[in-house]
Symmetry: C2
Subunit: 243 residues, 2 copies
């Protein structure tokens, strides 16, 4: 985040709640630096704001080194949650939460009112998987593959897209954001892309009050390297046509 | 529901939403008569109120005959939902919803924002179970057992409890409500019951604005007939002590 703007919002509005994704943010793939982590914690320390640290992507760093969570700098005010969706199987819909005891008690009541409890059978299956498999080795394999995919996609964006295209350089996760040349609309790229058989997500739905018209989110986790190469060639054709 | 009070609430407040359980309501086990179903539909017809018909227990009638849903009398304004929790396995957390198309579109967006989607693995397991097993035969077996349990529990309430105790007479479901003799507190019965190894749920949490201090919810689905008999003897001792 823009630290000056963030500090002024926290001081001016005393929000109850700040939601952030410090690791490989969706949609940009951006990661807070260690300095930003400390600064965010310092701004929030002692306020009534709870920091909700969404860490769905925290294990998927291409260099294999998880970053220390913001919670480490702000233990009493931070709720951190993660998911087995990105590292084991998305269809199980099982995640975890780590929060100060009073928050956790309230959370349990709210969750019970919302859904009684999480799917029990898949919790047992997941527990068995975790007890009998080396999850760290699996995560390391997956992260290495995603890292190769990400580098390939970045290189192809640099090589194939018309001048004025920029992109983030994720250190982990599954997504990156590309900014299109002046005057190219992400919604048009989305619509034309679908006709060419390449799917991108316009940035617009990621902004609550406007923005993102010139950005697209690209996913590098699911497709293989040949598909990524073919997709980037198709996407470059679409953007060149509209530029 | 009290039809006059219900009509006056609907006319006076034009609620967006009315939530009801016409079949074997939790906690009372009460079922709307066919006349009440028609009357509720007539009161709501043409208003802006959506009737949310929670039908979690609709298959579990002891006589094996599901009642026609209120939705049949009010098809355009009724959302009806059911659950596999009461007839297949609660731990799967899988249910269904049947709603007018515009409601369903909104519901799908809201559900996707809330939880992305339901557990996929257990949907596949459930689909397989439904395709290869006779669910109706299973439901008939379960309903017959619950019916026997319910009759046993009613008989024991009549035989063992002190004068002034009354109870509902469910036609289906898993629950009944008993009203305690004057001056006996359901919270005290709950606390004393736990010491005697018998668990009942006080009626209090089922009332949003007071009430239920003299009622307890009894569950007849999980325990076997011997356990029910033992439990009712213990409960009667507790209530006699407090009466």
């Amino acid at each position: 985040p823009d630290l000056a703007a963030f500090e002024s919002l926290v001081r001016g509005h005393a929000p109850k709640f700040f939601y952030g994704i410090p690791n490989s943010q969706n949609p940009s793939g951006r990661t807070y630096s260690e300095g930003k982590r400390r600064a965010v914690a310092e701004i929030l320390e002692g306020t009534d704001t709870v920091f909700y640290e969404d860490d769905a992507f925290g294990e998927l760093f291409f260099d294999g080194k998880p970053r220390p969570p913001v919670k480490r700098h702000l233990p009493k005010q931070t709720v951190i949650s993660g998911s087995f969706s990105k590292i084991v199987a998305p269809g199980m819909r099982i995640g975890w939460i780590y929060a100060p005891a009073p928050v956790l008690r309230q959370f349990n009541v709210a969750k019970q009112a919302a859904d009684l409890h999480s799917n029990f059978l898949c919790q047992v299956i997941l527990h068995r998987y975790l007890a009998t498999h080396d999850l760290d080795a699996h995560v390391a394999r997956v992260s290495a593959v995603y890292g190769r995919h990400c580098r390939l996609m970045c290189d192809l964006l640099d090589d194939l897209m018309p001048p004025g295209t920029t992109h983030t350089n994720p250190e982990g996760g599954m997504f990156m954001t590309a900014a299109l040349p002046d005057g190219v609309s992400s919604m048009e790229v989305f619509r034309e892309g679908v006709h060419e058989g390449v799917a991108v997500l316009p940035g617009v739905p990621f902004y609550v009050d406007g923005g993102g018209e010139d950005t697209i989110r690209l996913n590098f986790s699911a497709a293989g390297e040949e598909e990524i190469a073919e997709g980037m060639h198709r996407l470059a054709r679409v953007v060149r046509k509209l530029a």
